[in-house]
Symmetry: C2
DNA sequence: CGTCAACTGGACCGTTCGGTCCAACTACAC
DNA sequence: GTGTAGTTGGACCGAACGGTCCAGTTGACG
């Protein structure tokens, strides 16, 4: 018998990938439910018992697919980033013209109005709960924010290469400012339960981009 | 014996104000230590046993001065807001000229560099942990943010009344945008452990204000 | 249709948590 | 000093938590 193969299988087992469609569905369901639960009640307000119950799953399944609670939390951080990026993928893809930028920002505002100013940005909310305590989770969230900012930047770069944005404008910095405005606006909207903040922040973002437009294209 | 007096004294007792200097010092110490602990490790990472130990205090004292854990948490939210506002009181008071605005923003950036990009904004960090679960705590944080925004707004209004800012500029909106940029910038700085975000956000804030300057005063 | 790995259910455990209770101590008024 | 309200220390409690374990079931495949 090949011992190294056996040993490797144990190592692989640690990250606990399910091997059947059924198992994969179970793992997915756990992750989905946990992400939603944490999005609503926060990490501290979500116990494994809550997860178990909501996912219709037994405890051993949790520990079959996730090493421990922290491992699950990190996966949730990843899933949360995926959800946020997926949800805005199509609008973000059009963030490459003044009209597209305006549409993107309007969409962000509309989403908050629809949510009645609750929840804020799921990534940002998780950040406050995990950034200082769980390094791997922090890195997941950074990756999410970086993808977001990269998406904004790509659109701005497209605008610059078409001459809509001035040549001396810095798409990276501008994207960071837009993202900061959105995050801050969402945070203020969330705690105030009032969408005025995100609306003003969106206006500010548009204004900053407008200020970098090439005068000739005005 | 007057029963109503006795009854009233019980009611007063519920909010548990200490009646001696010694007791007041103890309560203050508990609050101070808890605020610091939570600022470092987050709410979930701070148990009453941690507080008890760090404050050099026994359990019954905790429950003498605070009704329960939530009551302590709300007091911490209040104290956190006070700390943040006190720390920037003098710089914020000068947020009433272009030079003062620049100085204020530079101070915010400098503080993060000094902190090595850790912690973010204490109010914002608490918001992510409490906003959706503890309504009274949320209101404390809103009050803190409102004081902050009011401070920014007061400076901008002073600028407008002196004719530095255009008459059609909205100090309230502008203050909200500056605050959103700061909050978002601090959040990004915190999770990335890189002060570039708050620096870019500060630049953006200055730019937004500059865009509202009266042309004649340029 | 037998076999075995993959998967599931839930009893069980030690720890830690928030919270209660009461006996003892302190300081000040009379 | 003696009384009394204010304050302190810590033993104690039940509940809930994360985590372990194992016996039973399922399902894919030769």
């Amino acid at each position: 018998m090949d011992r190294s193969v056996q040993f490797r299988s144990i190592l692989v087992r640690m990250s606990a990938e399910p091997r059947t469609a059924r198992g994969r569905a179970t793992r997915e369901r756990i992750l989905d439910v946990t992400t939603s639960l944490i999005g609503e009640r926060g990490i501290a307000g979500t116990s494994l018992e809550d997860v178990r119950h909501a996912a219709g799953v037994s405890k051993s399944q949790l520990y079959l697919y996730f090493r421990d609670r922290d491992d699950l939390l990190r996966a949730v951080a990843h899933t949360t980033c995926d959800r946020v990026m997926d949800a805005q993928a199509d609008v973000l893809a059009e963030f490459d013209s003044v009209a597209g930028v305006a549409r993107y920002l309007a969409g962000t505002v509309a989403l908050q109005e629809q949510r009645k100013a609750r929840g804020g940005c799921p990534i940002g909310t998780l950040a406050g709960q995990l950034a200082e305590t769980d390094e791997p989770a922090r890195l997941e969230l950074v990756a999410g924010m970086d993808r977001w900012q990269a998406g904004l930047r790509a659109g701005l770069e497209a605008m610059r290469s078409r001459g809509e944005l001035r040549a001396d404008a810095d798409p990276g910095v501008l994207a960071g400012q837009v993202l900061a405005l959105i995050q801050g606006g969402l945070l203020l909207t969330q705690i105030r339960r009032d969408t005025a903040a995100i609306r003003d922040a969106a206006d500010g973002a548009l204004q900053l981009i407008r200020a970098s437009l090439d005068d000739k294209s005005l």
